[in-house]
């Protein structure tokens, strides 16, 4: 094993803190290694029914009628529910209440739930789901950034398809352009991505003798879940208890409502415990993803190698629901300059509704998409200036005393320069060199 250059710091820290810099075993690791940990999908309660969801399966449509009679006649079926059966607001959403627990008159994404079934076993529930007939009238689906920006396109929600526009402004853009010796301009696209936690979403709900709806779920945020579940189901807050079950991976997606409201509704209606476990396919279709973004960036630097300006637009596809999209996409704009000092900035971000899958929180929260653009721009600028990409970054990185794009003053927590210097030391100790990119035509 080669010597890890981070050892030095780890040694320094080891003495100073009781936990930082030390190996700590996770308190729940052994029961997990033994296979003893019970995730929701492993739990069984006496009298438990099994829930299944009928998904919209079409991106944009008006629901004319739903026939559930045939489904209800499947032996073993206890409930077939549609939006009409939801006792509360039927709405949820982390930022705004723009998602329906069960679709009402509109379907806005293939991942919208349309109906629910509870049955004695999963097969009966599946059979009943297959027998629900949804009469739909298809609408023009809004699937691209251009569709969403088209003022004549159908509105997915009442407020229009541009949910939010944010701006970052700093310095004098024209001055920055005038002072540039090199300018690069490019369009970047990042794709939608699923978190793929190894545990597909699952929930188990029951009403206890005191009338409290208990919901076990692998969630990242039980209290915020409760604030969404109770009004959606028309219950007072103190009649809903969310119990956080072991989470088989979340990575941001289990910040949102997953199975909670559906399994809770089924338990309320059947007065039986109900467990609902997604298949992997359902998990891929439903719930939030990482935002696809389109980023048009123009970046400049002076002959001295100092960045002069960033002029950029970022379009984020949040799908049929905002979830945390407005924050994620705004954050991509705030981080569009990366960890670099840029004196003149114009960045606009647009959070767009589409009929694609809803996007929300995922590790990095918009910063990773921005990094694809700003780091590619940095490499191309360095190349154009004939500088080493490392030296170019060292020259421009944020340091204590400098301010971020939004004016936040850097303090001792700003580690980019130390990181770059460590890379430089590592490379020179091993005589590693940057491969020069082939000359651009």
């Amino acid at each position: 094993m080669s010597e890890d250059p981070s050892t030095e710091t780890a040694e320094e820290t080891r003495g100073a803190y009781s936990w930082i810099g030390k190996n700590v075993t996770k308190p729940d690791a052994l029961e997990k290694a033994l296979g003893a940990t019970e995730y929701v999908g492993d739990m069984v309660v006496p009298g438990m029914l099994h829930g299944k969801i009928l998904w919209a399966d079409t991106p944009h449509a008006v629901i004319k009628r739903i026939d559930t009679e045939e489904a209800a006649r499947v032996p073993g079926v206890h409930a077939v529910l549609t939006a009409a059966d939801v006792p509360g607001s039927n709405r949820f959403g982390l930022a705004v209440l723009d998602q329906c627990a069960l679709a009402e008159e509109r379907v806005r994404s293939v991942g919208d739930a349309v109906a629910l079934v509870a049955a004695e076993d999963e097969e009966a529930a599946e059979e009943a789901v297959a027998k629900i007939r949804v009469h739909k009238e298809h609408l023009r689906p809004i699937l691209t950034y251009a569709d969403a920006l088209d003022p004549d396109a159908p509105k997915i929600h009442d407020g229009g398809n541009v949910f939010q526009h944010t701006t970052v402004r700093k310095g004098d853009l024209d001055k920055g352009i005038r002072e540039s010796a090199a300018i690069v301009e490019n369009a970047y696209h990042t794709h939608r991505m699923d978190h793929v936690p190894m545990e597909p979403e699952a929930g188990l709900a029951y009403v206890d003798p005191s009338g409290v709806l208990n919901i076990l779920v692998g969630t990242q945020y039980p209290y915020r879940d409760r604030r969404q579940i109770a009004p959606a189901l028309g219950l007072p807050m103190n009649k809903v208890r969310v119990i956080q079950a072991p989470i088989g991976g979340g990575f941001g997606r289990k910040d949102d409502i997953t199975a909670e409201i559906h399994v809770g509704l089924l338990a309320l209606k059947t007065r039986r415990p109900v467990r609902l476990v997604y298949t992997r396919e359902e998990s891929l279709v439903a719930n939030t993803k990482r935002h696809p973004m389109a980023m048009n960036f123009r970046t400049g630097a002076g002959a001295d190698g100092r960045l002069t300006f960033l002029d950029g637009d970022i379009y984020g596809d949040t799908g049929a629901g905002v979830s945390l999209g407005a924050y994620v996409i705004k954050k991509a704009g705030i981080h569009a300059t990366g960890p670099y000092d840029v004196p003149n900035i114009r960045v606009d971000t647009y959070t767009l509704y589409t009929n694609n899958l809803t996007s929300g929180a995922m590790r990095g929260f918009g910063v990773m998409q921005a990094a694809v653009a700003h780091e590619s721009q940095m490499d191309q600028l360095a190349h154009k200036l004939g500088m080493s990409p490392l030296e170019f970054r060292l020259k421009n990185c944020l340091k204590p005393g400098l301010a971020s794009s939004t004016g936040q003053l850097m303090n001792e927590g700003c580690g980019i320069e130390a990181t770059l210097r460590r890379i430089k030391d590592y490379m020179s100790a091993r005589d590693l060199r940057f491969k020069r990119p082939e000359a651009a035509s």
Binding site: L34, M198, E199, T279, R280
Partner: protein
């Protein structure tokens, strides 16, 4: 129509009433309540359901229960003996190979199968052995380290004195 199947699971004869199209994984989990084997994809992509069938690792989601009848099945629940974790289980904990834990039982069964065949694997052999088990948390490095540490520990236990190097 349900039929009775006799399975030999973890050294014990067990009966399960199931339909022929049900998977070994579902019967282990639902009928026998051995829920250590996980259902991550139900189509052989993730490895979370790995068990040993006649000594070989298989994805139990694709084994139909009649096909497992009268054969030896070993699940994660059998690895600890008298409450003492297997060295792979202990090393997964100590080396930080466990995070969310959902892939862990399948991962350990793949590693267990490897060490039965090859008590002194190289890192490449360990990586190959667990290449059918997806972990989204760890990045695999600590899992490989745990399997290697377990192999060293087991050689020591076997009295070969293999731990010194």
């Amino acid at each position: 129509m349900k039929q009775r199947y006799v399975l030999r699971v973890n050294g014990r004869g067990m009966e399960a009433a199931a339909e022929a199209h049900e998977s070994l994984l579902d019967v282990l989990r639902e009928n026998l309540r051995l829920t250590g084997s996980k259902k991550g994809c139900n189509e052989a992509e993730c490895g979370s359901c790995t068990v040993l069938l006649d000594g070989r690792p298989v994805v139990s989601c694709l084994v139909l229960v009649p096909d497992a009848a009268d054969r030896d099945v070993v699940t994660i629940e059998a690895l600890a003996t008298d409450g003492v974790p297997h060295p792979i289980q202990r090393q997964m904990v100590e080396q930080g190979g466990v995070q969310c834990g959902y892939c862990t039982p399948g991962m350990i069964m793949s590693a267990y199968a490897l060490l039965l065949d090859n008590p002194d694997p190289t890192d490449d052999e360990i990586r190959f052995a667990i290449s059918g088990n997806i972990c989204r948390c760890t990045g695999y490095g600590k899992i490989v380290k745990a399997v290697r540490a377990a192999a060293v520990e087991m050689k020591g236990q076997a009295g070969n004195g293999g731990a010194a190097s």
